[in-house]
């Protein structure tokens, strides 16, 4: 392999590389400078090693050309062929996100070095572009002065070569009419975007261009005012700027009303944009028109080995015929073989603009799709066949152009056979650089690789986005703001101009100017490798591999989806990016703090324990089923039975075994009372204590009645007291007739005064009358209640000394006696009979009359002893239990 020494770094670089693989310095011997004429090469012998996809493209193009030739004029073309995927690339109906893959761009690094043209503003739908305005103005002109473009708006079926051919008679030679500058400008631009030196072109290749230019010059006499703002100030290039904008889809050119430009220079300037080459601002050195005509074709073909001795090249038409299939392989074209003339050379242009869709369908205008369409073409052109390709028959002879099962576009880059051929030194020598590069390039994606997805999407038939009509179908109407050649549309001659304006601008094209980072397929810079850093170095990772990295697609996709959200509801439905995703004023909102309590494990454990405690408190404890016979109940029953049994036995038997110590103090007081004196008896006890008080007061009443014949006045402090009086008199045998009793009768010996209401006040009121109380010899208080007895004692004391001087005998129940003992001790009560105990002593003194106290005394004695024993035994048992518990605890 031959190597070239880099003039910059001095390192050896393979000769097929355009740039130094180390320092990316352009290898000057391979570049074509501005003004230089590329060396014409005959690469027809290399057709045998062309890739299958290229052969298929060519074959398909040939077939379509034949079909087109056989089709009657005006008949719409109906094709049953599958949509050409390559043609879909031209339409670029997809969004801007589907850009040219890096791997493809990497094939021709020079494209990255292009200076992005000023982003064209989105063309207006309703408003015709300046380009079309030209045709409007031309409509008013005489037919004789019609521009050559009038020939373009021919019925369907007309080929590009036809209208080019029709222009030839009327158009003067290109060089003669327009002069060198006009033709040189766009040719220079075309030649500028190739990085290699253009080989010498044959003069006859430029004849058709000259004719075309001459025709346009002849028909456009009045020079239309040129929009200064839209095009760069170049005297010779201004006329052709509008054509330049065709390829570049420059928005300013469309917006500004431009009159008809009859100049042939302008007419031909659209050819500049064929390859996406728009460099109007760059001055192009004057070159011979004939030499420059083929230079742009060199760029398309990517001439990489211009200096090599070109083999026998049949003609320029043959060289360009293979390109027919690039743009519109499905368009019916005349067979390339049958056209040896200049028209045959331009057949590829016809196919480029041929659409896959039936020509009968009105093709709306597609504004400026050629920016991206031509990008790929440029890339392909650089790495594909040079213009000096062998003629079509050479391919046809090989038989490789026969379309195999998938469409030609399905496997466009099957370079594996070519790589195999590289082993042959003979073939390697004859292989052009552009083919070598394609063969050696490791970044070429394999068929079916994921990197070709974009390619498959590009190949979709452009139904949603109508293909642009490159030329106005209606005479007099200006062409739409579309590139001169619409590769996605079929026959442009059958297009309706109205449909051009009705076509909605594709989304990708609208947003195209908004993407500054996207390299615009504008004019090709004369120095394509201005940015060396972006050049694909052989040692670096292939760009298509880099493009397959998910991070890139994820980032771009996310950014697009986040920044531009399409509204689906409300009045803003359908708008994108109207409402910002970031809430307004979100920065002013206070920072949100989490309400979750930050608790540690220990705190959480404590909280859980607390919750458990609370839950246990609220939960109902299961109640213990009460035993039918418990120990306490049994004990109670046992004690009750014991007491009942003992007491019953004592009473039944009438035992009088308990000793009684009689007390004379009580009898002495009674003995001191006058005879037959009235005695006031206050009945202040309840029926429950009637038995006790009757037994306690019995001996006293018996003595009073028996020895003193006292008259009893009974007054009760309770309502039931009146009834208790009768019972008292009965049970003490006072009211019983004699001899069983003393024979006291009510109203004679005793008086039941009844209930004394008012409590203390009643007592005070009763004793307050000294006259009433003064007649009583003694006051006998029968009480079971400390309070009432104290009230009576107090009120008697408060009644005055006369009343207080009266003897007060208190017969109390045993439960109230301890509390009344102080009054007896203090002398306020003269005598206190404390229950059955004192009554028994009193009764003993009276020889046990009436005998109740004595009858109860033994039973009371036994009962007290049993109680004492029960208390002692119970205390001892409790003490034992405590001792046992403590002993158990100590152990």
């Amino acid at each position: 392999m031959a190597e070239i020494r880099c003039p910059n770094c001095g390192k050896e670089t393979p000769d097929f590389l355009d740039f130094c693989q180390f320092c990316q310095t352009p290898l000057q011997q391979d570049l074509i400078h501005i003004g230089e004429e590329p060396t014409k090469k005959d690469t027809g012998e290399l057709e045998q090693i062309l890739p299958d996809w290229l052969k298929e493209v060519r074959q398909q193009g040939l077939e379509e050309a034949e079909d087109e030739a056989l089709r009657p004029p005006g008949k719409p073309k109906v094709t049953d062929e599958p949509p050409d995927l390559l043609a879909g690339l031209m339409s670029q109906a997809e969004s801007e996100e589907e850009e040219l893959p890096d791997w493809l761009a990497g094939i021709s690094p020079s494209l990255k070095k292009e200076e992005p043209p000023p982003p064209p503003p989105p063309p207006k739908k309703e408003e015709p572009s300046s380009f079309f305005a030209q045709f409007r103005e031309a409509e008013t002109q005489p037919p004789a002065e019609e521009t050559p473009w009038s020939g373009l708006v021919e019925p369907v079926g007309r080929e590009l070569t036809d209208w080019f051919g029709q222009e030839e008679p009327s158009a003067p030679p290109f060089r003669e009419e327009t002069g060198a500058p006009a033709g040189e400008d766009w040719m220079k631009d075309l030649s500028a975007f190739t990085a290699e030196s253009a080989p010498a072109q044959e003069p006859e290749d430029l004849s058709w261009l000259r004719d075309l230019e001459a025709a346009s010059k002849a028909t456009e006499e009045p020079a239309a005012p040129k929009p200064e703002a839209a095009f760069p100030p170049s005297a010779s290039e201004e006329d052709l700027d509008w054509l330049t904008k065709l390829g570049a889809a420059s928005a300013p050119a469309f917006e500004e009303p431009a009159p008809a430009q009859p100049s042939s220079e302008e007419d031909l300037s659209w050819l500049d944009k064929l390859g996406g080459v728009t460099a109007p601002e760059e001055p192009a050195p004057a070159q011979p028109a004939g030499e420059e005509d083929l230079s742009w074709l060199d760029k398309l073909g990517g001439v990489t080995a211009p200096e090599e001795p070109a083999p026998a090249q049949p003609s320029a038409e043959e060289d360009l015929s293979w390109l027919d299939k690039l743009g519109g392989v499905t368009a019916p074209e005349e067979p390339a073989r049958a056209q040896p003339s200049v028209e045959e050379d331009l057949s590829w242009l016809k196919n480029l603009s041929a659409a896959k869709e039936p020509p009968t369908e009105p093709i709306p205008s597609q504004p400026a799709p050629a920016e991206e369409d031509l990008d790929w073409l440029k890339n392909l052109g650089i790495s594909a066949a040079p213009p000096s390709q062998p003629a079509a028959p050479a391919f046809a002879d090989t038989g490789e152009l026969q379309p195999k099962e998938p469409p030609a576009s399905a496997k466009p880059f099957q370079t594996a056979p070519l790589n195999e051929l590289l082993g042959d030194e003979a073939l390697r020598d004859t292989t052009p650089d552009w083919l070598k590069e394609a063969l050696e390039e490791p970044s070429m994606p394999l068929p079916g690789a994921t990197s070709l997805d974009w390619f498959a999407e590009q190949a979709k038939p452009p139904k949603e986005t109508p293909p642009p009509a490159p030329f106005d179908q209606t005479p007099g109407k200006p062409a739409a703001s579309t590139p001169a050649f619409d590769f996605s549309s079929g026959d442009s001659s059958a297009q309706d101009l109205d449909a051009l304006f009705d076509v909605e601008m594709p989304e990708w094209l609208k947003s195209e100017p908004e993407k500054p980072e996207t390299p615009q397929p504008g004019p090709v810079s004369t120095q394509p490798f201005t940015e060396e850093g972006e050049a694909l170095a052989p040692v670096e990772l292939p760009s298509w591999v880099q493009a397959m990295r998910p991070v890139d697609s994820a980032i771009s996709g996310t950014a697009a989806s986040v920044d531009m959200v399409t509204e689906r509801e409300g009045p803003l439905a359908g708008f994108r990016g109207v409402i910002p995703l970031v809430p307004v004023g979100s920065a002013l909102r206070p920072k949100a703090f989490s309400l979750k309590l930050q608790a540690g494990e220990e705190q959480q454990a404590a909280a859980a324990l607390l919750e458990q405690m609370i839950a246990s408190e609220t939960a109902a404890l299961p109640s213990k089923p009460a035993a039918v016979i418990s120990s306490q109940r049994a004990l109670r029953w046992a004690l009750s039975a014991l007491f009942l049994l003992v007491l019953t036995a004592v009473l039944w038997l009438g035992l009088q075994t308990m000793p009684i110590h009689p007390s004379s103090r009580l009898s002495d007081l009674i003995a001191s009372l006058p005879d037959a004196s009235p005695v006031l008896l206050v009945v202040d006890y309840e029926p429950a204590f009637a038995g006790e008080l009757e037994a306690s007061a019995g001996p006293l009443l018996d003595q009073l009645a028996l020895s003193k014949h006292a008259i009893f006045d009974f007054v009760a402090t309770s309502p039931n007291g009146a009834g208790l009086v009768e019972r008292l008199m009965l049970h003490t045998n006072l009211s019983k007739p004699f001899p069983a009793g003393l024979g006291y009768r009510a109203g004679e010996q005793y008086f039941n005064l009844g209930f004394l209401p008012g409590g203390a006040a009643g007592a005070a009121g009763f004793v307050g009358d000294p006259q009433k109380l003064s007649r009583y010899a003694a006051i006998l208080l029968l009480t079971d209640n400390v309070e009432t007895s104290r009230t009576w004692i107090e009120q008697l004391e408060a009644a005055g000394p006369e009343v207080a001087g009266k003897p007060l005998i208190v017969v109390s129940s045993a439960q109230a006696a301890p509390m009344l003992q102080p009054y007896a001790a203090s002398g306020q009560a003269n005598l206190l009979v404390n229950g059955l105990y004192d009554a028994a002593k009193y009764e003993a003194l009276n020889v046990s009359r009436p005998g109740l106290a004595r009858a109860y005394w033994d039973a009371l004695g036994f009962g007290l002893m049993m109680a004492v024993l029960a208390i002692v035994i119970g205390g001892a048992w409790n003490f034992y239990l405590r001792f046992r518990e403590k002993h158990a605890e100590t152990e």
Binding site: P687, Q795, A814, P818, A825, A859, G863
Partner: protein, 219 residues
Amino acid sequence: MPLIEFVSAIVGFVLTLMVFSYLIGDNPLFRFAVYLFVGVASGYAAAVIVNDILLARLQSLPLGDPALLVIGLIPLLLAATLLAKLFPRISWLGNFAMAVLVGVGAATAIGGALTGTLIPQAEAAVDAVDPRSLTGLVGGGVMLLGTVTTLAYFQFGAKRAADGTVKRNAAVEALAWVGRVFIAVTLGVVFAGVYTAALTALIERLNSLILFLKSILGL
């Protein structure tokens, strides 16, 4: 035995057994007996009040003497206003009568307590200490000690100690401890009196049952 006494004895015997059934536990027999006693006692009390109080006072009104009649009607009018307490809207009518009752009762109780309890008991406590005799001295001393220590027990004044604890004075604390002994003895005596009274009531009931049975049996 007369029939009325026999029936009364039988009723008394049955009701007594019903009350004793409470030793087994709360039972309907016990409740029936209790309700019966309460009802009979209330009815008897109401009858006594109406018959011995109201009717007796109305019958004793001095109709010929307007002045005494007015004075006699005043308690009747105040008693009628107490009936207004049954109706919330006119319950205020009984407020005056109620105020009279409470005021008179409080005044009577206070006057009687002061003149019948506090002063006489204080004098008696002083007189109980008789240094002239050993018994009087010991008895008086014990009574005085018991009185002082019991009062000291209900003295709750205290101060904060150096260690932060609140304690009563040591002397007061000692007296309170002695007073607690006297209180315990007093409560024991009261409990003994209650038990004695209850036991006496039981004995009386058992004796009545025995007498009834003996009367029935002719023993």
